[in-house]
């Protein structure tokens, strides 16, 4: 098990390193001088040179990369030239909002998707099953920002059931939860169907397996068989997907955050991109990518823990 984690972790670290270096190289090799952008074309050369020096842009690329990793190791993501604050401080200030949104979305999607998939499998070809099948395909395909816009249009602006903007009053949990509903629905809707499909497929497979026949032959209550004997196996693929889901949602949250004017990493990044604030772009992409890579890593490990067969394989290889 430990070997499995180490191997998988090292691979994740390596990929992360490559991705970050790539991003860094791109940012620094592209045309468009940040100093120019920041200070406008009419700024004096002295002012530009001073700013470049402050941002370390006058050094050779490799030196910059080295300095960047050195800073990174110390938790330093650079300084935001606009507000003169630490980028890491800005990013981690926004992160909780995005995390809350993502967790609400994935949690809701799982709580709805697993029973939906389970019922679909048990009542195969029933109306519910067919409806779930069509709906899940539909909501996987429709872009989440379109869903977000329509939710905003009807449920927030027209009917005023939910607030249209912001994350709610700080400290007021009920208000914050109220603000969380629509963005979380927009973000998680596609995943409800996706999880339901996944659970349905693996549930159908599991129910055909011999050990289920054994459990039936021992007269175990059908509930026990479904929940403890079948579903436990049938949710395994879902758990693998959940990690990926959290990673994908961290970036997908961007649309929900923008549509509902909600603070968060996505909104931060969008604003930074529009104002060409490179350190903030770099910082927020770095943090999300790290989360993305970590979440796939964690889901692989959880999967190995839940499925003893897989765990064994990891050990022996």
């Amino acid at each position: 098990m430990i070997r499995f984690i180490t191997r998988r972790g090292l691979l994740a670290l390596f990929i992360l390193f490559l991705a970050v270096s790539l991003l860094f190289a791109m940012i620094h090799m592209m045309p468009g001088d940040p100093a120019n952008v920041l200070l406008g074309p009419k700024a004096s050369p002295e002012l530009k040179a001073e700013l470049k020096q402050r941002m370390g842009l006058d050094q050779p690329l490799l030196v910059q990369l080295g300095r960047f990793y050195n800073d990174l190791a110390h938790g330093d993501l650079g300084i935001d030239v606009f507000s003169d604050r630490q980028v890491s401080e800005i990013v981690f200030e926004q992160l909780p909002y995005t995390l809350a949104l993502v967790l609400a979305a994935i949690g809701g999607a799982t709580l709805l998707g697993i029973p939906l998939g389970c019922f679909s499998a048990l009542r195969r070809n029933s109306l519910l099953d067919r409806l779930t099948a069509i709906m899940s395909v539909a909501f996987i395909a429709i872009p989440s920002f379109v869903v977000a816009l329509y939710l905003l249009l009807w449920l927030a602006v027209k009917w005023r059931w939910f607030p249209a903007m912001g994350a709610g009053e700080s400290g007021n949990i009920a208000d914050q939860a109220h603000h969380l509903v629509l963005p979380a629905v927009a973000l998680g809707l596609g995943w409800v169907g996706y999880i339901a499909r996944l659970v349905r497929a693996s549930m159908l497979e599991v129910m055909e397996e011999n050990h289920i026949r054994t459990a039936r032959a021992f007269g175990l209550p059908e509930r026990t068989i479904i929940v403890h004997y079948a579903l436990r196996i049938a949710v395994l693929p879902t758990v693998t997907i959940l990690g990926l889901g959290i990673g994908t949602m961290l970036s997908g949250a961007l649309f929900a955050e923008i549509v509902f004017s909600r603070p968060g990493i996505g909104k931060l990044l969008h604003e930074a991109v529009l104002s060409r604030n490179y350190p903030v772009v770099m910082g927020s992409v770095l943090v999300t990518t790290t989360f993305f890579v970590l979440s796939t890593l964690v889901s692989d490990i959880i999967n190995a823990t839940l499925d003893p067969r897989l765990r064994e394989r990891g050990k022996s290889s």
Binding site: H211, G219, Y229
Partner: protein, 320 residues
């Protein structure tokens, strides 16, 4: 003689298929007396699995019961409500399945599965575990306490099958149905399991319905033998009678083909010529006639019934 614990009478089962009605079992009669070991022999496709599924009422949804009854201590299992039949399963009637690699749940520990089997008892978890430990000991598993916390994939096939037997005997059933329990195991393990089963049967006094296509195992273990062919019982009787004095031509051929019985050195193992009849479009008359060497005109038109008191044969020529 006691009344049979399980009495299968005139049972016919068929499956609705795309090609038509597949008549998997036809007028099957098998009585099982308390404490006896009854073996069922036959090639694959002879209806053994359908028979078991019918007894524990786990038939596929496209199956239908055309006639007959399955009497359990006098009550017809086919009339019971699903809840009542579920109450019997794993309590009065237990099963051991063929493939030990897949018949245990892969993600639950042995202990969990063995305590779950005792779901009808109101004992504490610790007591259930203790019972499970004792049971594992009795089927010959070393370090039973440790095994409880292990998963099926940690155990070898033979060990898993012992676990399966322990689970099946946990509730001290009146009847144990063993569906080819040793087929997936190698020969030495097979012998061990058979001897263990014999000993356990003596201890528990339950009846065993033992299904196998391995004649040697049947001869070693069973008191009575039922020979099935293409969904019908063709011969039944005490193991001694059937093996020493086989009277149905199919049984005779089956015994001739058993590698353990071939005395002359030969290059080619004998086989029964021809193949199983199509169960959707059954031939008229005797079902074995197309493969039979000694058939007469009557076999073509009239289906022989199972006749005899102790040693029963379904063949027109057997009486001559």
């Amino acid at each position: 003689m006691d009344k049979p614990v399980l009495d299968i009478r005139d049972l016919s089962v068929s499956f609705l298929t795309e090609r038509g009605l597949l008549r998997a079992l036809r007028n099957v009669n098998i009585p099982i007396d308390p404490g006896r070991i009854v073996g069922i022999v036959g090639e694959s496709g002879c209806g053994k699995s359908t028979l078991i599924s019918a007894i524990i009422r786990l038939l596929a949804p496209n199956a239908q019961i055309d006639s007959g009854s399955i009497l359990w201590r006098g009550d017809d299992l086919l009339d019971l409500e699903p809840d009542a039949i579920r109450a019997l399963r794993g309590d009065e009637i237990s099963m051991v399945f063929q493939d030990p690699m897949t018949s245990l749940n892969p993600v639950l520990t042995i202990g969990r599965q063995m305590t779950d089997v005792q779901h009808r008892d109101n004992r504490s978890k610790a007591e259930k575990r203790a019972r499970a430990t004792r049971m594992l000991e009795r089927v010959g598993i070393p370090d039973p306490v440790e095994q409880l916390d292990r998963y099926p994939h940690h155990l070898s096939g033979g060990m898993r099958q012992r676990v399966a037997i322990a689970m099946a005997l946990m509730t001290e059933p009146g009847l144990l149905i063993a569906d080819e329990p040793t087929t997936a195991l190698d020969a030495t393990l097979e012998v061990q399991i058979i001897h263990r089963l014999q000993q356990l049967q003596r201890d528990f006094g339950c009846a065993i319905l033992f299904i196998s296509h391995h004649l040697g195992v049947i001869a070693e273990l069973c008191d009575e033998v039922v020979v099935m062919y293409a969904g019908e019982v063709v011969e039944s009787g005490s193991t001694r009678d059937v093996f020493l004095n086989p009277r149905h031509p199919y049984t005779q051929k089956l015994l001739d083909c058993d590698p353990a019985r071939i005395k002359k050195a030969t290059r080619n193992l004998p086989v029964i010529g021809g193949s199983l009849p199509d169960l959707v479009e059954l031939p008229d008359g005797c079902v074995f006639r197309p493969r039979c060497d000694i058939s007469i005109d009557r076999c073509r038109s009239e289906r022989p019934g199972l006749e005899g008191s102790n040693h029963c044969i379904a063949c027109h020529l057997a009486r001559q």
